[in-house]
C-alpha cells in the first residue's frame, strides 16, 4: 500500500493596526495664523489651546482610525510517502486467507525472515488455555504457526487463546518436532518434545 501526499497551506494573519491619520487634516496652519495677532498671554492660551487640540486630535485618531489588514504570515509545503506490505493489512493479497491466523497474532520481525510474538502474548488470561512444554534440548527454538515464539527453556508455560495451532520445535543437529495442537480455555495441555539427533547420510548409530 502506497500513499503519496502533497499538502500546501497558507497562513494568514489578521491584525488591527492603527491607521496613520494624515497630520495635514489636523490643520497646524490655523494655530500659526493666530499666533502673530495675539498677546503673550493669549499666546500662552493659544499654545495651551494648541496642545489641547493636538491631544484631542490624537484621541480622535485612536477612536475612529482602525483598519483591517490581512497579512500573509507564512506558506507551508509538505510531501509524504508511506509504504506497508505486511500481511495483516494487505487487503487483497493471498496472505489474508492464511488459515491459521499467525498474521493476526504475530508480528513481522523487522530484521529477519520470521514473524515473532510479543512477549506478553503468552501471559496468563482467564479465557486462555495452558500449554506445558518440555523440550530436549532445552535451547530448542519453538515456533507457533510458523512464527518464532522463543526458546523452549523460556516457554515452559504458554497461555494461548482457544484455537488450533501448529507447534514446531527445532534445534540444529536434531530432527524437528511438529504437532498440531488444540487449545481450550481453562484446560491444560502437556507436550513433551524430545528431539532425536539427526542421522547424517552414511552415518550409522552404532559406532564402535
Amino acid at each position: 500500500m502506497r500513499i503519496l501526499g502533497l499538502s500546501l497551506g497558507f497562513l494568514f494573519l489578521a491584525s488591527f493596526l492603527p491607521a496613520y491619520r494624515a497630520t495635514a487634516q489636523a490643520t497646524p496652519d490655523s494655530a500659526a495664523s493666530v499666533t502673530p495677532q495675539t498677546s503673550p498671554a493669549s499666546q500662552i492660551q493659544a499654545t495651551a489651546q494648541e496642545s489641547s487640540n493636538s491631544k484631542k486630535e490624537k484621541d480622535d485618531s485612536s477612536d475612529g482610525g482602525h483598519k483591517l489588514h490581512l497579512r500573509l504570515g507564512g506558506i507551508s509545503l509538505g510531501a509524504g510517502y508511506a509504504h506497508f506490505s505486511g500481511p495483516a493489512f494487505y487487503p487483497y493479497g493471498p496472505y489474508d486467507f492464511y488459515p491459521f491466523g499467525w498474521d493476526y497474532s504475530a508480528f513481522w520481525y523487522p530484521w529477519g525472515p520470521y514473524p515473532f510474538f510479543a512477549p506478553s502474548y503468552f501471559a496468563y488470561g482467564s479465557a486462555k488455555g495452558e500449554v506445558r512444554l518440555t523440550a530436549e534440548p532445552k535451547t530448542a527454538e519453538v515456533y507457533l504457526d510458523q512464527a518464532y515464539a522463543g526458546t523452549a527453556d523460556k516457554l515452559k508455560d504458554i497461555w494461548l487463546e482457544p484455537g488450533a495451532y501448529d507447534l514446531s520445535v527445532a534445534a540444529s543437529g536434531h530432527q524437528a518436532y511438529h504437532r498440531r495442537i488444540y487449545v481450550l480455555s481453562g484446560k491444560s495441555l502437556k507436550i513433551n518434545a524430545t528431539l532425536l539427533a539427526e542421522v547424517k547420510p552414511g552415518e550409522t548409530k552404532d559406532k564402535p
Binding site: 482467564s126 482457544p162 480455555s185 481453562g186 484446560k187
Partner: protein
C-alpha cells in the same frame, strides 16, 4: 476477471479446503492392525472403539461427555477407488434398540460447548459452632431462667454458581473443538489409498459391558464389525 483476483481466489479456496478438510489419522499397516476387521470384495475395513481413557488421551475436547468415538480405516482394492461416506455408518448397541448415525464435528462441538456452559459448581460449606454462656438469663417466652452452659450449633451452606466462565465453554472453544474433531475425522469422498479417521456417534453408553457393533454399507454388501 483480473488474473490477480483469480489467483487469490484459487489460493484462498485451496487453503480453505486444506485447512478445514478432515485429514484423519495415520492408517495402520493393515486392517488386521485394528481389533475389529474384515475384508469384502477386496476392500479391507478395520475399526476400533476408543475407550474413555483413550478418548481422553487422543482428544483435547471432552468427547466422552457426548459420544462414542470409533476409529475406522479403509484399505481399498488396487485400481478400485472407494467412496467413503459417513451416511453409510450405523453404530448399534447389541441386544438393544439403541442405534445412531454419525454426527458431524460441528454438531458435536456445539453439544460439548452447551454441556460445558450448563455446568455449575456446587460448593458445600459445613459449619459447626460452640458457644459458652455464663450467668443466668431470663427467657420471656417460656418465663424460665437459664443457667450457664455450653451450646453447640451445626449447619450447612450450599453455594451454586461459578466465579468465571466454565472451561471450554466460549465460542472460540467451540471453533477449536470443531477444528480438532473435523481434522481428526474420517475423510469423506473417493479414496484410492488407505484412509483412516475418527467417526463420532452420539451415544452415551452407560452400560459397562455393552457390546457395540459397527455397520457399514459397502455398495450392495453390509459390513458388520463387532467392536470389542
Amino acid at each position: 476477471m483480473n488474473w490477480k483476483l483469480c489467483v487469490a481466489v484459487i489460493l484462498a479456496t485451496a487453503t480453505f479446503l486444506m485447512a478445514d478438510g478432515p485429514k484423519g489419522t495415520e492408517p495402520r499397516q493393515a486392517a488386521t492392525g485394528y481389533p475389529a476387521h474384515t475384508e469384502i470384495n477386496g476392500v479391507a475395513v478395520g475399526a476400533s472403539l476408543l475407550t474413555a481413557d483413550q478418548a481422553r488421551r487422543h482428544f483435547v475436547s471432552d468427547v466422552n461427555r457426548c459420544c462414542l468415538v470409533v476409529e475406522v480405516a479403509f484399505y481399498p482394492a488396487k485400481d478400485k477407488p472407494l467412496n467413503v461416506s459417513l451416511n453409510d455408518f450405523v453404530l448399534r448397541v447389541k441386544d438393544s434398540d439403541i442405534a445412531a448415525k454419525p454426527s458431524s464435528a460441528k454438531v458435536i462441538a456445539a453439544s460439548l460447548q452447551k454441556k460445558a456452559r450448563s455446568d455449575r459448581d456446587v460448593t458445600v460449606y459445613p459449619s459447626y459452632g460452640v458457644t459458652y454462656q455464663s450467668g443466668r438469663t431470663y427467657d420471656p417466652v417460656t418465663g424460665t431462667t437459664q443457667g450457664s452452659g455450653v451450646t453447640q450449633t451445626t449447619g450447612v451452606m450450599v453455594g451454586v454458581g461459578n466465579s468465571g466462565p466454565n472451561p471450554a465453554s466460549t465460542d472460540k472453544d467451540r471453533s477449536a473443538m470443531e477444528a480438532e474433531l473435523s481434522e481428526k475425522g474420517l475423510p469423506e469422498g473417493i479414496a484410492s489409498a488407505p484412509v483412516a479417521g475418527y467417526v463420532y456417534f452420539p451415544i452415551s453408553s452407560k452400560k459397562k459391558n455393552a457390546v457395540h457393533q459397527l455397520e457399514y454399507k459397502l455398495g450392495e454388501e453390509k459390513v458388520v464389525l463387532a467392536l470389542p
